[in-house]
Amino acid sequence: MPRLQPLLWVYLALLALLALTVSASFLPLGGLSPVVSTAIALAKTGLIAWFFMELRSEGWPLRLALMAGLFMCSLLLVMSSIDPVTR
């Protein structure tokens, strides 16, 4: 029988993070609001990648390829934000 209990805990943590991100959107955070929601989304992604996608037991080829994708996405976001932020 596979050990499914850890997956259930991760699922509950994901639901809690969803509740947190929805609640945070009602707070008057101003410019911090997108930072908070993106940080929570990154935390959820970490949980899904590590436990649901089982990156903790996969080898480095898959981890590296996925990290490269995330890195390129971050680069895209930072580079495309520099222009409007510094206007």
Binding site: M1, P2, R3, L4, L7, L8, V10, Y11, L14, L15, L18, T21, V22, S25, F26, L29, S33, P34, S37, T38, I40, A41, K44, T45, I48, A49, F51, F52, M53, E54, S57, E58, G59, P61, L62, R63, L64, A65, L66, A68, G69, L70, M72, C73, L76, L77, S80, S81, P84, V85
Partner: protein, 198 residues
């Protein structure tokens, strides 16, 4: 251990990373307009149905749980459980699409959807632009979800026909499950960027 072969893992990883970049471009566009037109984007975002989006997030997270459980069951040589869990994940995917269709129909009725006959209330150009991004991003996500559902159904059919044998071919369950989780992660970023811009 049922790890992916190195070459398979690398190829799959590159494919998933390319999917990140596909949605990354759309996400960058949303962030760009959020920075350039903060007020208008926040107002447009407030017109979206936050709670329908939250419900769909719960549905998708639950489907990811069942997909992860299916991958574990496959490794533990539990063919019946694997089939049931894959079908549950596919059914939750269909539920997500049904809820999304209801949401689109509400937006169409309210004149908020940028399609012919459905955009009467989109007067402000930035609101129109934001809803264009919303429709393209959620539409593209729905296409990916549909592919994921078909992959799961195809995998269940292969399990039934015994062209997949567990636990030897557990990787045939792991791969569609990984794709499904990626679709889930895309939604995890789209949901706050579109629905919770404040």
């Amino acid at each position: 251990m049922h790890r992916l072969e190195q070459a398979d893992a690398h190829h799959l990883g590159i494919f998933l990373a390319s999917e990140f970049l596909l949605f990354g471009g759309l996400f960058a566009a949303i962030v760009f307009y959020r920075i350039v037109h903060p007020q208008e984007v926040v107002e447009a975002s407030k017109d979206l149905h936050l709670w329908i989006g939250a419900l769909n997030t719960v549905v998708l997270l639950t489907s990811s749980l069942t997909a992860a459980m299916a991958a574990q069951s496959a490794k533990a040589d539990q063919a019946v459980g694997t089939k049931r869990l894959l079908l549950a994940a596919a059914a939750l995917g269909v539920a997500f699409l049904a809820i999304k269709a209801v949401e689109y129909s509400i937006e169409y009725r309210d004149g908020m959807l940028p399609v012919p006959g459905g955009d009467q209330q989109l007067g402000e150009p930035i609101a129109h632009l934001f809803m264009n991004l919303y429709l393209v991003a959620t539409g593209l996500h729905a296409v990916h979800l549909t592919i994921g559902i078909l992959l799961f159904l195809f995998t269940v059919a292969r399990l039934w026909s015994l062209s997949i044998r567990l636990p030897r071919d557990a990787v045939s369950i792991t791969v569609p499950a990984l794709y499904w989780h990626l679709v889930d992660v895309v939604w995890i970023f789209l949901y706050p960027a579109l629905y919770l811009a404040r």
